[in-house]
Amino acid sequence: MHEGSITIRLSADVAEIERLNRIVRQFGELHELPGRTLYAVNLALDEMVTNVILYGFAETKGEETKGEEIVVRIEVHPPELRCEIVDGGREFDPMQVPSPDIQAPLRERELGGLGIHLMRALMDEVTYRREHPKNVLTMSKRIR
């Protein structure tokens, strides 16, 4: 495993998610991250960046907007990995979103909130701060 970092600039376009995922996987392989850690980071970033792209810039929920920038930074400092997502979208603190009831029986399970719940479960520490006019989400995970 090697120390290192990468900064990825994305436009607010759903087509960018595939590019992000590809870059994250390449970065993880290059730095010889364990498979489980890489999978977790890949998924957490995918979920949170997708949320920003789909909901962060649109007036109407679900409507996609182009031209806005999202900056993702990943740092590997063994034994820890840190990620940061900075976007200029509307204020949104994912830590305020209630978790879905994962004990509910199948017929009562709701479809929403799965992505944010996964991110929180995959990461060891998550902090959100508003640095007007930007959202800054920091996630960290012990590498293992």
């Binding site: 999978y39 994962i102 199948l106 992505g115």
Partner: protein, 117 residues
């Protein structure tokens, strides 16, 4: 993401390969719903070659499981890789879905249900 369909007796098996993510969730949902809409009630998804799934893909499995339950059918997922299984556990799907280690075990899940009926 690619899918391949086959029939094993009265069980329809869909094998899903690659990455099930935001862009591939919609085509996968179409394939799975088409199988249910044409009347198949015993549906197994072989996740052996599935390398990655995100919440958009998980929603498709949840939708299909809910739909089959209301139709007295059954969805069985088999051969999940350790990473994919970890995600299913985190989201609580291992307690509400039929998850088998292998195809053979998955097929037995359908037979057991018939025996109970």
């Amino acid at each position: 993401m690619q899918t391949q369909e086959e029939s094993l007796g009265d069980v329809t098996v869909l094998t899903i390969t690659g990455h099930l993510d935001t862009s591939s969730a919609t085509p996968f949902e179409s394939v799975l719903m088409e199988v249910i809409d044409r009347g198949e009630r015993k549906v197994m998804v072989d996740c052996g070659p599935l390398e990655y799934v995100n919440s958009a893909g998980l929603k498709v499995f949840l939708l299909a499981a809910k739909k089959l339950e209301t139709l007295d059918g059954q969805l069985v997922l088999c051969a999940l890789s350790p990473s994919v299984l970890m995600v299913f556990e985190m989201i609580g799907f291992t307690r509400i879905m039929n998850i088998a280690a292998s195809r053979d075990e998955g097929l037995r899940m359908f037979r057991e249900q018939r025996a109970e009926a």
